[in-house]
């Protein structure tokens, strides 16, 4: 089938402001949007710039605004998008070129929540730190995050206030706060209890709607708020 892609283009070295490029491509219904973008870049306009790596919804490189919603270009099929497809860079982060944005502000917030296991006791002699299936279940949902930034860049609180730590960082914090093997719960709850931490979340649910990993992000944020209120994880 033949579809028209409307892609928001911007080259800071040439363009004063972004413009819309229109490209007609022939695609199979089961092609990914990423395949269609490749057809444009490889056969029509080599200057089209986008990020992608694994092309299978795991690396989290190709988040973009597709028909107004944050999606991974490699996870959405052409048959679900209609004959006219608009593609824009994700919102709230500086555009470097075309569909590529500067992810540094996003990753700075990720680093701020100390995204690594903190446990100062040595592991039991000769073996790993054990955890019951029930304890593992508590943070199972938030281990699925691939840091694609779909959630944070769909969040109106983040658009309005770039200092907000954002849903992705809270999801990552949740993953360690509710991990029974981690000892820095109080420290991370203090980070989350910042003015620009969980309290900027207005439960808009945009993050839940767009998460390609189907994480219940607003619930995770609610868990963290409740843990702060109760002074720790119970």
């Amino acid at each position: 089938m033949r579809v028209t892609l409307r892609i928001k283009r911007f080259n800071p070295e040439k363009d004063e402001k972004p413009w819309w490029g229109e490209y007609e491509v022939d695609v199979e219904p089961n092609d990914q949007l990423l395949d269609a973008l490749h057809k444009v870049k490889w056969y029509q306009d080599g200057t089209l710039t986008l990020r992608r790596s694994c092309a299978h919804g795991i690396c989290g490189s190709d988040a973009m605004v597709v028909n107004g919603r944050n999606r991974l270009a490699c996870k959405v099929l052409m048959k679900d998008l209609g004959k006219k497809v608009t593609v824009e860079p994700i919102r709230g982060l500086p555009v470097i070129k075309d569909l590529v944005v500067d992810m540094e502000p996003f990753f700075a917030k990720y680093r701020a929540i100390k995204p690594y296991l903190i446990n100062n006791d040595p592991p039991p002699e000769g073996r790993e730190r054990l955890q019951s299936p029930a304890d593992r279940e508590r943070f199972d949902d938030t281990t699925k995050c691939i840091l694609c930034a779909c959630c944070t860049t769909s969040c109106p609180s983040f658009w309005a206030n770039g200092d907000y730590v954002g849903p992705a960082a809270i999801v990552q914090a949740h993953r360690f706060i509710f991990d029974s093997r981690d000892q820095a719960t109080a420290e991370r709850l203090d980070i989350m209890n910042d003015m620009m931490g969980v309290w900027r979340c207005r439960t808009v649910f945009n993050c839940v709607e767009c998460c390609p990993r189907e994480i219940n992000i607003t619930k995770a944020i609610g868990d963290v708020k409740k843990a702060i209120l109760e002074g720790g994880v119970r």
Binding site: R91, G92, L93, P94, D102, E104, P105, A108, K109, A112, I113, S157, F158, W159, A160, N161, G162, D163, Y164, V165, E187, L189, D190, I191, M192, N193, D194, M195, M196, G197, W199, R200, R202, K225, I228, L229
Partner: protein
Amino acid sequence: MALKTRTRSYGSPNRFEVASWYFMRVSGAALLVLAVFHLFYMHVIAGVDAITFEWIVNERWNGPLGMFWRTYDLALLLFALLHGANGARWVIDDYIHGRGANLAVKSALYVLTAILILMGMQVIFTVPLHSQQTALSALVTALGR
């Protein structure tokens, strides 16, 4: 659009923000009951035609359930204004980033909220119990100020 690249450090815990978040949950639940029953009572049980200063002072605030109604109206006044003002504070923090402008708008909000609460409380507290004639005049005087 958030286009900042500088990184802010996180980790100054904010007790007030925890309390304010919890207050919004509690007052929200309370308002659901208080405000809905208020509307139901005034519009369906009492009827819009019956609502006059006289009726409020004589029947509502000095009737057999006078203390109940004064407490009810006080709770409605405080919860509604504080809940609304706190929500407005969040909106201001979300959208007004300049330090001076943020402080100015928030100060105006706090002053306005305080004035509205004080005016409401003045009416609820200064209308005397079981003194219908003076109660009415006190109410009229209070409102006339």
